[in-house]
């Protein structure tokens, strides 16, 4: 399915397709529906995790929270009990500053990407995290040391060098669009679209993928393996949707993106949430967000509670 490739679209065409632009997202959804004071709940992953834990939403187990440079001295004992772990900045964005350790003997650490780090390297990395190199706005940060997710076998053939994740955008706590993001060789194991990951839209009712996007262009195959990214089933879809809705309610943000990864034993776990989720999801789904958002705005307030939302989801998926 390769439409006559064009270099640009007319604004009129995009409007007709209901495509949401960055200015529209910020001006009409993020600014009016997301209270600034609630941003830390999603910007700080340590806080997001705490909220999730209190609501019973599954998240990767936290092994340690490194808050001070002084904590770095105790690093070996902190890591002693776990062979595999992930280090990530609490306020990082776009997957920056994340180190996945696949194995270690206390002195040398081998990452999932195949690099080998010494204890000093790891300590330096943690200190750059604390100094805020990866954090939004460069403020001092905390580092989370957490459980490494064991990849769910579902996407074995289509994930290259990393863990796939599922992004759901919720408007007024109702999921409006979802996509499955798969790392590629170009994205260096990260599942971020602008770094070259490939994404497929996900049908909200069934959890089945369709369509796809890579490097901003519509695709249907994984660029590295050539495997089709069409018609894949996301396991435990209903649990995933329920968790997303619970989290959106808990963080009290009207327009929010929630990222999940699938653990082979636990199923969907929340990785992070985002108050300004990207718009590439529209390309992955081959449709604009605006009709769905406007549909929800026309619904009575009562529909946004509990199980009634599933009815909305079913009708949204038709749009």
């Amino acid at each position: 399915m390769s439409p006559g490739r064009r270099w640009w679209a007319w604004p009129r065409e995009l409007r007709r397709r209901g495509v949401l632009g960055l200015n529209g997202r910020n001006g009409e959804y993020v600014l009016p529906h997301n209270r600034r004071g609630h941003y830390p709940r999603v910007d700080d992953k340590a806080l997001t995790k705490r909220i999730c834990e209190s609501k019973g939403i599954p998240v990767p187990k936290t092994y340690a929270l490194v808050e001070r440079y002084g904590d770095l001295a105790r690093l070996p004992e902190m890591l002693d009990s776990q062979r595999q772990f992930v280090v990530k900045p609490a306020r990082g964005s776009e997957g920056r500053g994340i180190v996945v350790v696949a194995d270690h003997d206390g002195n040398t650490f081998s990452t999932a990407g195949g690099r080998t780090l010494t204890l000093a390297d790891l300590r330096y990395h943690l200190s750059t995290v604390l100094s805020g190199l990866y954090s939004l706005g460069g403020q001092p940060d905390r580092a989370i040391v957490e459980q490494r997710i064991v990849r769910h076998p579902a996407f074995e053939t289509v994930a290259v060098g990393g863990t796939p994740d599922i992004r759901i955008i919720l408007y007024r706590t109702v999921p409006v669009m979802a996509m499955l993001r798969l790392p590629t060789a170009a994205s260096r194991g990260r599942a971020n679209l602008h770094q070259g990951a490939v994404a497929a839209g996900v049908d909200l009712r069934t959890g089945r993928t369709f369509g796809g996007v890579c490097q901003g262009r519509a695709v249907s195959e994984h660029p590295d393996t050539g495997a089709s990214i069409d018609g894949l089933m996301v396991p435990c879809w209903d649990r995933l949707l329920a968790a997303a809705m619970d989290l959106a309610e808990a963080v009290e943000l009207g327009y929010v993106g929630v990222d999940f990864v699938l653990d082979s034993t636990v199923g969907p776990v929340v990785l992070e949430a985002n108050a300004r989720p990207g718009l590439g999801i529209q390309v992955a789904n081959r449709r604009g967000l605006v009709p769905r958002l406007e549909f929800l705005d026309r619904q009575p307030e009562a529909m946004f509670r509990g199980e009634l939302r599933h009815e909305l989801i079913a009708r949204l998926a038709e749009l």
């Binding site: 439409p3 995009l14 001006g27 100094s131």
Partner: protein, 517 residues
């Protein structure tokens, strides 16, 4: 937003009508002094220093328009000798022309207090005001003989000055054009032209250990063929007291004499240029054609930025242009969708390019970025914490700027050794961001950001170079209410960015119609 526009229009209208209503007080007059200077340059690097009228209690330049195509200007500043000077240099050989239009407000009563240096004279200034020159031969026998013949009379220095003044004013015969115009010649022959007379006076003062200097300026009156006139100033106590032996004024000059060059007889001074031709003209302007400070002081004057000294004008108008730079940045970011390093980095870089010479600026900017990146990648091995690491980069940036300016000056590549005041912290952050972006998102994306930064900086530069608008903003700062309105408009724009027409191109057209699993 409508309120902003209305307020802006109201403010401009009020001010404009207020200006029309201002009248000159009796005895005040408004003049236009024009310099027309032509010269040839054979080798690049020639320097031209144009002295501009100084403000006195009785006169004030309220508008200034100097055109000097192809010459590079250093910022105007009062020089050490209290002359207001425009320093220019020629980058290439050829013919040049400078035209300066200076509008003066002349007032019979002392109305202004020009801020000159106060306090005792510095030692080197004093030495300067006592030195011998080829035309003021302090140590020549003629000067000593004259002094000896006058010696018997005065004891106090004030009396001595007066005796010297009377001697030069009345004892030296007027000699027309053929008379010597240097001090020794005039004293030997007893005949003096206008310059010879005043130089003789200065030489006699200096030989008596009194600091004295020449002052060249213009007499503001209706005249054909305006020529500079030179008189003298003698330091009495802590004040410079004027003496004009040619016209016979002592102790005080009539208010219509406006000093231009202190410690010199040339209005336009060149080094390395040939065939200098300078002509001057004065024209009386109709009353009401400008000076809006012709009333007694009023607290509302605070709103009038044009009453500030001219040196401040340039800086202020540049600062006033900065919001337009921000507007340009906003349009680029939210309507076109070009990404840059840092939000206001492009605007600030453009601002620094306007301050210095832009060619030098670009050169230094590129070199500093390259050096900064090279050193940043070396630094990576040291594994430094962020703040110290940034400080190291800042130090290196500062050092490279300083030495680059020095290198440029050494090879004569830059018209002036004037420090290129690039925003160093901004540069440091740009180096850091560029490096981190290269590492994390690849060189391509980093270069994309750099390209965006350069493009936006270039557009900001074009806006900031807009002198006329800057001057207009200085006269009508309330115009920025329109800028605010425009910013609100841009801020409320929720349509697509230009870049999104490209980004979402696959969502348009029939090829992407429904395809569902």
């Amino acid at each position: 937003m409508a309120a902003l526009v209305i307020a802006g229009a109201l403010g401009v209208a009020l001010r404009a009508s207020g200006r029309r209503e201002l009248h000159l007080l009796d005895g005040d007059s408004v003049w236009r002094l024009t310099y027309d200077v032509r010269f040839d340059v054979e080798r690049p690097g020639a320097r031209i220093r144009v002295a501009l009228p100084a403000d006195t209690p009785h006169s004030r330049v309220f508008r200034q328009d100097v055109s000097y195509s192809d010459l590079t200007a250093e910022r105007m500043r009062p020089s050490r000798s209290e002359s207001r000077e425009l320093s220019l240099s020629a980058v290439r050989a050829g013919e040049y022309r400078i035209v300066a239009r200076l509008d003066l407000h002349l007032c019979r009563e002392a109305r202004w207090q020009p801020n000159g240096p106060v306090g005792p004279l510095r030692a080197d200034d004093r030495a300067q005001a006592l030195r011998a020159t080829p035309t003021i031969q302090v140590n020549s026998p003629a000067v000593e003989n004259t002094l000896r013949s006058l010696r018997n009379a005065p004891g106090r220095s004030a009396d001595l000055v007066h005796a010297l003044f009377e001697f030069c004013a009345f004892e030296l015969e007027p000699g027309g054009d053929t008379a010597p115009d240097d001090a020794a010649g005039a004293l030997e022959t007893g005949r003096a032209g206008p310059l010879g007379r005043v130089r003789a006076f200065v030489a006699l003062c200096r030989a008596s250990k009194m600091a004295a200097r020449l002052v060249t300026g213009f007499e503001i009156r209706e005249t054909a063929g305006l020529r500079p006139h030179t008189w003298a100033e003698v330091l009495v106590g802590e004040a410079w007291v004027p003496y004009d032996p040619e016209n016979g004024y002592s102790g005080e000059m009539p208010h219509r004499f406006v000093p231009v060059r202190r410690d010199g007889v040339e209005i336009v001074h060149t080094s390395g240029a040939r065939d200098l031709e300078a002509s001057y003209a004065l024209m009386r302007l109709p009353p009401g054609s400008g000076p809006w400070a012709s009333r007694p002081r009023h607290v509302l004057d605070i709103l009038d930025l044009t009453r500030l000294p001219l040196e401040v004008h340039q800086v202020l108008s540049l600062i006033l242009l900065l919001p337009l730079g921000a507007l340009v940045t906003s349009v680029f970011r939210t309507m076109i969708g070009i990404r840059t390093f840092g939000t206001f980095t492009p605007a600030l870089i453009a601002l620094s390019f306007v301050f210095a010479d832009w060619r030098t600026g670009v050169l230094v900017f590129a070199a500093v970025l390259a050096l900064g990146l090279a050193s940043r990648s070396l630094l990576e091995r040291l594994k430094l914490l962020m703040v110290p690491r940034l400080s190291v980069v800042l130090t290196l940036v500062v050092l490279s700027i300083v030495f680059l300016v020095s290198v440029l000056d050494y090879y004569g590549l830059t018209p002036s050794a004037q420090a290129v005041l690039l925003p160093m912290v901004i540069l440091t952050m740009t180096v850091e961001r560029f490096y981190v972006t290269t590492e994390e998102d690849g060189v391509r994306f980093a270069l994309q950001l750099l390209g965006g930064t350069v493009l936006v900086a270039f557009c900001c530069f074009l806006v900031l170079c807009w002198n006329r608008v800057g001057r207009m903003l200085l006269a009508y700062p309330e115009l920025h209410l329109f800028t605010l309105a425009a910013l609100v408009l841009v801020g409320r724009y929720t349509g697509y960015r230009l870049s999104e027409l490209w980004r979402f191109r696959d969502l348009a057209g029939p090829g992407s119609e429904d395809r569902r699993a």
